[in-house]
């Protein structure tokens, strides 16, 4: 959808934000645990660090990836299906 006037800033609509969010979550969800994450040292078994109260950025990121994958796996199926249908119908 092109903008009607030549605005120099990116004019976002809420729909484009939703699209960007869906794409990002899809990208996180396709990171496979054994085939990819363990190979680059981001697997679940490598996140047990010291038991201090400062987990560090990498451990937090790994936990975030793992939890996003666990939580969003099923809803993503539904959301992607809806998105595909909408795109087919309305372009």
């Amino acid at each position: 959808r092109m903008l009607p006037s030549r605005e120099e800033n990116m004019a976002f609509t809420l729909y484009s934000l939703i699209q960007a969010a869906i794409l990002c979550v899809n990208a996180v969800a396709v990171l496979h645990e054994e085939r990819f994450l363990s190979k680059i040292g981001w697997g679940v078994d490598q996140s047990v660090g010291g038991f201090g109260d400062e987990p560090g950025v990498k451990v937090q990121l790994m936990n975030l990836v793992r939890s996003v994958r666990t939580v969003m796996r099923v809803p993503l199926i539904a959301v992607n299906a809806v998105c595909i249908v909408l795109l087919l119908l309305f372009g």
């Binding site: 609509t13 934000l17 109260d53």
Partner: protein
């Protein structure tokens, strides 16, 4: 040219929500009190008058002669009550309405002082948010507390101003207004998400809730309004001067406010190996947030002032 400014000023008297008997901390339920004390024709409450006393158990007056209509009306009102309860229950599952009410407990004095601090924060001495028995004080009692009233009103005023500025340049059409509104909203959402992500990743245990972050992100709209107004009144030079002024003021404000919350005073667990790196990261977050503001202000207002 004065219209949005008057509209903005006229929004502020509506903040005088309650008579000053502060029994409860947040609000007194002024629905019946306002109606009894101040009568029906108070200019600020004209819109709230008629619909304010239809609280939960409104008794329908049985003046219909037809008993069927009576029964239908009672049935309808009971259905409406059920619907209202259900909606309240569902909404309170997602966000606690009490917490939201805290952010709107403002009064005129607070709004004026906060606007002055936002535009000229260099003389404000005490930036601590005061607490009262473990609960933060409402904005009515503490100038440093964040609120959501000013960001909301400033956002709406910014949209109106943008429409007016585009109209002056003869580029106005109604969908441009909606586009501007959603663009600004999306930038706020992006900024809040980025801040939440960085605060989570760096395990910063602060008591900044999501609403606090929305409030601090929304304060830049005040600067944007000032910038656009100066740009419209004084041309391109006035725009850049106002941009520089409000950027510096806003950056100072954000750094001083967030410093209290993100960078904690050194407590007992700060001895050890990590504290300097953590401290650095928190400083980076604060400075990055502050630097993000002028970028967004410029990005969202430069196309309005040519």
């Amino acid at each position: 040219m004065d219209l949005p400014h008057q509209g903005y000023r006229a929004n502020k008297p509506r903040a005088r929500a309650a008579p000053p008997t502060a029994d409860s901390i947040l609000f007194d339920d002024t629905s019946s009190a306002a109606l009894n004390n101040q009568g029906y024709y108070t200019p600020a409450y004209n819109m709230a008058g008629p619909s304010n006393d239809m609280q939960g158990g409104a008794v329908p007056n049985n003046v219909f002669a037809d008993p069927m209509a009576n029964a239908a009306m009672m049935y309808g009102s009971s259905i409406a009550n059920q619907g209202k309860d259900m909606v309240n229950k569902e909404i309170s599952r997602f966000m606690s309405v009490n917490k939201l009410k805290y952010f709107f407990a403002v009064d005129t004095r607070y709004v004026l002082k906060k606007l002055m601090i936002l535009m000229f924060p260099y003389t404000h001495q005490d930036w601590e948010v005061r607490y009262h028995r473990d609960a933060p004080l409402t904005p009515r009692q503490d100038v440093n507390a964040p609120d959501l009233y000013i960001p909301t009103m400033a956002f709406i005023t910014y949209i109106l101003l943008a429409g007016m500025a585009l109209g002056i340049q003869k580029r106005f059409s109604p969908e441009v207004l909606g586009l501007c509104a959603s663009t600004a909203l999306v930038w706020v959402i992006i900024e809040v998400l980025l801040m939440l992500l960085s605060l989570y990743l760096l395990t910063v245990h602060s008591d900044l809730s999501t609403f606090d972050l929305i409030a601090y992100s929304g304060y830049k709209y005040v600067g944007m309004i000032f910038t656009v107004l100066c740009g419209l009144l004084f041309g391109s030079d006035g725009y850049y001067v106002a941009l520089a002024w409000s950027s510096c003021a806003l950056m100072f404000f954000i750094v001083r406010s967030l410093k209290m919350k993100i960078l904690p005073s050194l407590s007992s667990d700060s001895i050890g190996t990590g504290p300097s790196a953590k401290h650095q990261f928190r400083l980076y977050i604060t400075v990055a947030t502050a630097l993000f503001q002028p970028i967004v202000i410029y990005w969202l207002t430069s196309h309005l002032v040519r």
